[in-house]
């Protein structure tokens, strides 16, 4: 190889580089696992290597991961999964009969009686049947067809799949997707990736993050100038905001979707996480059908659920499903084709989901323990939700709406102008600057509100309410003290 040729190689431009890579991917961001988390991981590494810091551990209150924060798995769920994984345990009398029965049923539905076999892309049929029955029971008997149920690799997978299906068109005809501000950044990431038009509708912070139809109308009308609005996404209970929508509000949204001819995506993964007095989860499907045939036969909808949240908190299994309502059969055929490229959702996640929709009944041996564990988890979360709101609201400069549901608090923080200027100097948005400083000084990792979207000129952070109560109290105290210190430093 001549020197000249070798030099040619050394200075050559990469085959895949910033200029020729998919430009849409360059716009994708996902704050929940973004820059601040990378820094947190780096700090953790430094701590492990013995570097001295003002704290001994990094508390990762950035991600809705209950088990990571010490929440225990539900015994029954894990027993069934262990039995499915290593069927020799079916001979072990330490496992209860109801767990064994469910394991046998699942294994019978698996190819070669193994959870290692592929399932159909849509998910194991008997599990989809169980999901449909669960939905019917939850929704007061409104029928659910297993053919409309698609099991998925977490709810996120199903959400991205539906968006892929819905986004089309060019220029002014490009699909517009309405999403709440603040929103869970999976949506904005998916929309960027698909080069869809993101249509923001603002939740009302002063009214407990409630949704206002006038605001929806404003947003959609403005959007019609430059795109083709076809979808509205709503997260209920809300992430990051934690609001639980009233029944009236849900009816209004359905009416809006019908009037504006929009596909409704209802992200309901936190449906069991409802804490506030007077708040109740109403499924979009149930409300839709109770509004009568004008809506129930016409509004096209997909609702999403997951095994990652609620009382299970089994994020690592990547289990979830969606139910599609009133979807055009030809579009549904395309949907079935799209899901086939992922082959199938993880079978253990499917099995786990089956347990969630098919839990121990009152007459079964595992019932008491199961209910005790489930109740304890949800009660614990409710207590922490109340505690969080209470403590943050005692701090001047932090305003915290009630955490009605889900797993997060999204308080508003008042930042002095000097801090905003300093942030700008350092090339950071102000709430990122705030959160980075908190991370460096206290070892607490939060996600800045800018990662979720917020009204111009306002700043927030999202914190999970998941650390164990005693630790949570300490975290709340440290953040409160930090905020006061920060405000003083930049006044």
């Amino acid at each position: 190889m001549s020197q000249h040729a070798a030099n040619g190689f050394a200075s050559r431009v990469k085959v895949l580089n910033l200029d020729n890579m998919n430009p849409n991917v360059r716009k994708v961001e996902y704050a929940v696992r973004g820059a601040i988390v990378q820094r947190a991981l780096q700090i953790e590494k430094e701590l492990k290597e013995g570097v001295k810091k003002p704290f001994t551990e990094v508390i990762k209150a950035n991600i809705g991961d209950a088990h990571a924060m010490g929440q225990k798995p539900i015994t029954f769920l894990r027993q069934v999964l262990a039995l499915c994984t290593y069927p020799d345990l079916l001979e072990d009398n330490k496992f209860p009969e109801d767990a064994k029965q469910r394991a046998r049923r699942i294994l019978d539905a698996c190819g070669g009686q193994s959870i290692g076999a592929y399932s159909t892309s849509q998910g194991i049929e008997c599990i989809r049947q169980d999901v449909a029955r669960y939905i019917e029971k939850r929704d007061g008997g409104i029928p659910s067809n297993p053919d409309n149920i698609y099991l998925s690799t977490g709810a996120s997978d199903a959400i991205v799949t539906v968006l892929k299906l819905l986004v089309c068109g060019e220029g002014r005809d490009r699909t517009g997707v309405m999403i709440s501000i603040p929103q869970y950044p999976l949506y904005s990431a998916a929309l960027a990736d698909l080069a869809a038009v993101q249509i923001n509708y603002y939740l009302d912070e002063d009214k407990c993050w409630s949704l206002d139809i006038a605001e929806l109308k404003r947003a959609v009308n403005a959007a019609r100038q430059y795109c083709n609005p076809r979808v509205i996404c709503i997260i209920n209970p809300g992430n990051p905001t934690g609001q639980v929508q009233s029944r009236q509000c849900i009816e209004d949204v359905i009416r809006f979707a019908e009037e504006e001819h929009l596909f409704l995506m209802a992200d309901e993964v936190y449906q069991d996480n409802v804490y506030a007095e007077g708040c109740k989860f109403h499924s979009f499907k149930r409300v839709l059908f109770e509004m009568g045939p004008k809506y129930s036969t016409t509004v096209e909808m997909a609702s999403f659920h997951s095994t990652s949240k609620c009382y299970m908190g089994e994020c690592g299994f990547r289990g979830g499903y969606m139910e599609v309502i009133n979807m055009d059969p030809e579009v549904k055929a395309q949907l079935t084709k799209i899901v086939s490229v992922h082959l199938c959702p993880p079978v253990p996640g499917q099995a786990l989901l089956d347990m969630v929709v098919n839990p121990p009944q009152p007459d079964e041996p595992s019932y008491n323990t199961f209910m005790k564990e489930r109740t304890a988890v949800l009660a614990d979360l409710a207590e922490k939700a109340g505690l969080t709101e209470q403590i943050f609201n005692t701090v001047p400069g932090i305003t915290c709406n009630p955490v009605q549901g889900a797993m997060y608090t999204f308080p508003r923080i008042a930042l002095p102008q000097k801090a905003i200027d300093k942030a700008k100097e350092e090339g950071l948005v102000p709430d990122m600057f705030y959160c980075m400083k908190l991370l460096e000084e206290e070892g607490i990792c939060l996600v800045p509100g800018s990662g979720f979207g917020q009204r111009e000129g306002t700043f927030h952070f999202r914190m999970t309410i998941l650390p164990p109560t005693e630790k949570l109290k300490i975290v709340l105290q440290k953040i409160s003290e930090f905020h006061i210190r920060f405000t003083r430093e930049f006044s």
Binding site: M1, A6, F9, A10, R12, K14, V15, L16, N17, L18, N20, M21, N22, P23, V25, V28, Y30, R33, G34, K60, D65, H67, A68, G70, Q71, P73, A82, T85, Y86, L89, D92, G111, G112, S114, G116, A117, Y118, S119, T153, S156, K164, L186, A189, D193, A195, G313, E314, C315, G316, F317, R318, K337, V341, H342, L343, C344, P345, P346, V347, P348
Partner: protein, 464 residues
């Protein structure tokens, strides 16, 4: 149209399974379902060590019980300690649990004769196809004009093709040479690339080694030619190596693209951009349902890597059990470990069965008129070629079907053998094949070959 026909076949197979379950009389007692590359479905047993470790991780009470061997308990303990909160229910880091990613990296280095591997360049995903999709997503600009092209083998694994098309890429087929055992010939790569002029802008070359559906195992020489080709033509190399543990031919040996690249030395080893894919779905483990795969990225632009990381982060993380499966794949029991004797026995049995299966496939299929197949050197499938009589082709056309679909439907109905028609794999025009999984127990293979022989003989008679 082709997707529709496969769906018809799959639907009929399900119906037949149901009919058999309800006791309907048929010329066979059960369906032999060898449509997918799914060993467990066909009756191959999971590895005991793998399932014991996973069960103990799911239900840690088992870690303390003495019902499980010591090495199982130790491994479960190690894996659980690597999880946040000690639970398989926690999310993990985007690319996978750090300890596991490191161990995969060490495995790669061992496998590749010492070629260094960087953990930061490895991403664990829910199956290898998921990672392939993400990499393709970065490569393919769906709004570009001319459109992005990817050179793909002909025939090609259908799911990969579907992913590329879904992302808006143009598949640029390069024909594998059936007469030479489905060999990849570099002249054909050149021809394919030329054919793309004015049609699309090729950015990548997709290679499957060992081949799917072909079963060909590439020679080192061939791989060197491919590497020189992608370097010269400035293409990104996508190496799908999920069948690397499935090698049967006596003269065949799997060597990874990374290793060949590394051995070719600089400047190629420092500049050729490569993504290689592996999975826990195939090989001896056959754990398709756990969805554990990974991609190793070599020589990529660090700026682009940042965006790849963000893309993977949006998917949160791969299922933890799938990640564990990869740890077990890359770090199996060693001689001296309590589980080693059983583990060794199990994998030797599987290997011997596969070697025997492909030998039998070659013998039986090639003894029948109007059908032949190349030696299956590796991979998961047999891919026989059908030389259909004109009457059969005519009948198929009358019924509005591809001829190989027609054959497969009849094979399903009359013999209870469910295979997938060759047209799904985009083979050369005017050729007919079908694909069936050879990762099956020995007695299932014998039954399959018996039914196939009998059906095929009857078919040829009927349409002669």
């Amino acid at each position: 149209m082709k997707q529709f026909q496969h769906a018809v076949l799959a639907r009929r197979a399900n119906q037949i399974k149901e009919e058999l379950r309800q006791g309907m009389r048929k010329p066979y007692k059960e369906l032999i379902d060898v449509c997918m590359g799914d060993p467990h479905r066909a009756g191959v047993k999971p590895l005991t060590f793998v399932r014991q470790v996973l069960a103990a991780c799911l239900y840690p009470q088992l870690v303390d019980s003495d019902k499980l061997p010591e090495d199982v308990r130790q491994r479960a303990q190690m894996l659980l300690q690597a999880c946040d909160g000690g639970s398989v229910g926690s999310y993990t880091a985007t690319g996978g649990i750090s300890q596991i990613v490191h161990r995969i990296s060490e495995f790669i280095t061992r496998r590749d004769g010492g070629a260094p591997s960087h953990p930061e360049h490895i991403y664990i995903s829910p199956g290898s196809q998921w990672a392939l999709m993400n990499i393709l997503n970065v490569l393919v600009n769906s709004e570009a004009s001319p459109r992005t092209g990817v050179l793909t083998p002909m025939p090609c694994y259908s799911t990969s093709n579907l992913s590329m098309i879904g992302l808006g890429a143009v598949a640029v087929p390069y024909s594998l040479c059936e007469e030479q055992g489905w060999e990849l010939q570099v002249e054909e790569l050149h021809r394919a690339l030329k054919s793309a002029k004015g049609v699309c802008k090729p950015v990548a070359l997709y290679v499957i080694n060992p081949g799917n559906p072909t079963g060909h195992v590439q020679s080192r020489k061939s791989m060197q030619e491919v590497i020189r080709f992608v370097s010269e033509k400035r293409l990104f190399l996508l190496a799908d190596e999920v069948y690397q543990d499935c090698v049967y031919g006596e003269k065949s040996e799997f060597v990874s693209y990374k290793r060949v690249l590394s051995e070719m030395g600089p400047p190629l080893s420092d500049t050729v951009e490569l993504a290689s894919f592996h999975s826990a779905s195939k090989g001896f483990m056959g754990e398709c349902g756990l969805r554990g795969g990974y991609v190793e990225l070599v020589n990529l632009d660090p700026a682009v890597m940042k965006y790849i990381h963000t893309l993977f982060s949006r998917d949160s993380c791969a299922p933890v059990l799938g990640q564990f499966a990869l740890d077990l794949l890359t770090n199996p029991p060693q001689p001296g470990d309590p589980s080693y004797p059983l583990y060794s026995e199990e994998i030797q049995h599987i290997q011997a069965t596969m070697v025997h299966n492909v030998k039998r496939v070659f013998e039986v299929v090639n003894s029948l008129p109007g059908i032949c197949c190349q030696p299956v050197e590796g991979g998961g499938f047999g891919f026989p070629r059908l030389h259909l009589p004109p009457k059969a082709i005519q009948k198929a056309k009358e019924m509005g079907m591809q001829p190989d679909v027609f054959y497969c439907i009849k094979l399903l109905e009359e013999a209870g053998v469910f295979v997938s028609p060759g047209c799904e794999y985009e083979p050369k025009e005017g050729t007919y094949h079908f694909r069936f999984c050879i990762m099956v127990p020995g007695d299932v293979m014998e039954d399959l070959l018996r039914r196939l022989s009998s059906f095929h003989t009857q078919f040829m008679k009927e349409f002669s």
